[in-house]
């Protein structure tokens, strides 16, 4: 019996679209030359890379020579943060970030802290929003970098990036944004946003894993993270992953072309799920901003139950989702993001993230809602917290 599989975890990773894989395939077995070679097979690879660079640039409003391909979104984040920190340490060692960043940003900041840098974590409000005025206040004469994500990976909240960029510009401080979750889901125009550095990751928009890119505004000084050969205009060494780069660009191109339809579709699925859940299940709360959020992101907390249990039971029904519960992260604490928006530990443990994608249907959403109602009921009936709550009520 083939079990039905319904994938609601597109923020974790997406499948590679067939058109994307098709674009990549020739570069594995046929067009495999080294892109730095003088001979013709290498030159066709060089052209493929430069075409990809142009495509990516166009998709985010940059110039081709402002795009640098990396091996992941995490590498792009590490490069932006450590590279800027190293290049500007003579000016100062103060970096500002937010309390709800992805580990790909937080961990480099913590690393730098151990190297003698000073990190300020801007808090967020109950919806997960950073207040640009807080950034303004936090900037000091020795501030060299502000890094605040464009859209959050767990609660989907979209930050006022343009306003924060203006604050940074006013003070002459570099601004990096982690747009890994934003790319392919909402429009990105680096010039309009006014950012200096911006990271993206291929496997979040139906491109291949192990690919990413860093936008570096022309004129921005930044040290390399990976030193070696002359690739990527001397800034990111290593034989170019040609199929990966081609697939990355193709995926971003497809995503950008269809952005409105994509947004509309995911938004509808999200709202349908949201309404269904709130209608059928009591004691639930929405995490993240009601409107300023990624179209495909739904994050809710169910009182009295724990997230991993929900995930396992959903999995038995063929539904794939994720949670901010400690039990699923391999760490001992629940999601720092959910705590940062003020959730008590219990509700953080009881969170469920559903992230919708292009192949999901309304029927799948309805099935999800039915399953969830049943699962939450079952888990609550075995929860001592629910028992206490009910007894307290009567």
């Amino acid at each position: 019996m083939q079990k039905r599989v319904i994938y609601f975890d597109h923020a974790a990773t997406t499948y590679v679209k067939p058109e994307v894989l098709d674009a990549m395939l020739p570069y594995f077995t046929q067009e495999y030359g080294n892109a730095s070679s003088v001979y013709s097979i290498g030159r066709s690879n060089r052209k493929a890379i430069e075409d990809a660079r142009e495509t990516v640039a166009k998709c985010i409003g940059a110039m081709p020579n402002e795009i640098y391909f990396t091996g992941s979104g995490t590498e792009a984040d590490n490069w932006a943060i450590k590279g800027a920190a190293l290049a500007h340490r003579n000016k100062g060692k103060h970096i500002i970030t937010s309390s709800i960043e992805h580990p790909a940003v937080l961990a480099p900041c913590e690393f730098l802290q151990k190297q003698g840098y000073d990190i300020t974590y801007i808090p967020v409000d109950q919806d997960g929003l950073v207040n640009p005025a807080d950034v303004d206040k936090a900037i000091r004469p020795d501030t060299i970098l502000v890094t605040i994500m464009m859209a959050n990976n767990e609660i989907g909240t979209i930050q006022p990036i343009k306003e924060i960029a203006q604050v940074c510009k006013k003070h002459g401080v570099l601004f990096h944004t982690d747009a890994v979750q934003a790319a392919g889901n909402i429009p990105i125009d680096v010039k309009d946003l006014g950012v200096d550095l911006l990271s993206v990751s291929g496997h979040k928009f139906y491109g291949p894993k192990g690919t990413g890119a860093l936008y570096i505004r022309k004129g921005v000084k930044i040290e390399s993270l990976i030193h070696g050969g002359h690739q990527e205009r001397n800034r990111r060494a290593g034989t170019e992953n040609v199929p990966g780069i081609v697939g990355f660009a193709k995926a971003l191109e497809l995503a950008t072309q269809n952005l409105d339809a994509h947004y509309e579709k995911l938004y509808k699925l999200r709202e349908r799920a949201l309404e269904g859940i709130f209608e059928k299940i009591p004691h639930v709360r929405l995490n993240g901003h009601r409107e300023k959020r990624l179209p495909g992101n739904l994050n809710v907390s169910f009182s009295f139950v724990e997230g991993e249990s929900i995930l396992l039971m959903l999995d038995m029904k063929g539904i794939k989702a994720s949670s901010g519960s400690a039990c699923t992260s391999g760490s001992l604490d629940p999601s720092h993001i959910l705590l940062a928006i003020g959730l008590p530990h219990e509700l953080a443990h009881g969170s469920l993230r559903l992230t919708f994608g292009e192949s999901n249907t309304e029927e799948e959403v309805d099935y999800l809602v039915d399953c969830l109602a049943e699962i939450i009921d079952k888990l609550r009936r075995m929860s001592p917290l629910y028992e206490d709550f009910i007894k307290g009520e009567c």
Partner: protein
């Protein structure tokens, strides 16, 4: 990640519920850490004739609760007190390293319920049983980043 036994005890937990007139009740863990186990025992002539539980927690927490109640049913208090977290682990065909603390929690929940019984019956001097706080990491179940995958 979980063995079939664990998944079976998670999806079809044995002995879920309360015992209205329980002879011993014990609760360990806390919501902050994501695991709470509450154990109800019915004890007749020093033998555990019934055991039920309620658990807030992950799959492993539910499965270890279920397995622990199974293991102690029909046992004498002495026998039940000798059931360690290892016995629960083995009965479940093991747990991932990060989940081992759940089995410790189960052992503690039994101990807490038995202690409650003893106290009610004047069989112990401890005013309060010192249970594991349930907050992971305190019981030797630390992840070893060097040597173990998780």
């Amino acid at each position: 990640m979980y063995s079939d036994k664990v998944m079976d005890h998670f999806m079809n937990p044995r002995n879920v519920g309360e015992i209205e007139d329980a002879d011993g009740v014990g609760q360990v863990g806390n919501a902050k850490c994501g695991d709470i186990m509450k154990m109800y025992l019915k004890i007749e002539d020093g033998v555990i004739v019934d055991a039920k539980f309620k658990t807030f927690g992950c799959g492993a927490a539910v499965a270890t609760s279920s397995m622990a109640t199974e293991l102690i049913k029909g046992k004498t208090i002495k026998e039940a007190e000798q059931i360690t977290n290892k016995a629960v682990l083995e009965a479940l065909d093991g747990l991932p390293p990060v989940k081992v603390h759940c089995s410790v929690l189960a052992e503690e929940a039994i101990a807490a319920a038995l202690n409650d019984y003893k106290q009610r019956n004047g069989l112990t001097e401890d005013a309060r049983y010192e249970a594991c706080g349930g907050c992971c990491g305190g019981c030797g179940s630390y992840r070893d980043d060097e040597t173990e995958d998780h």
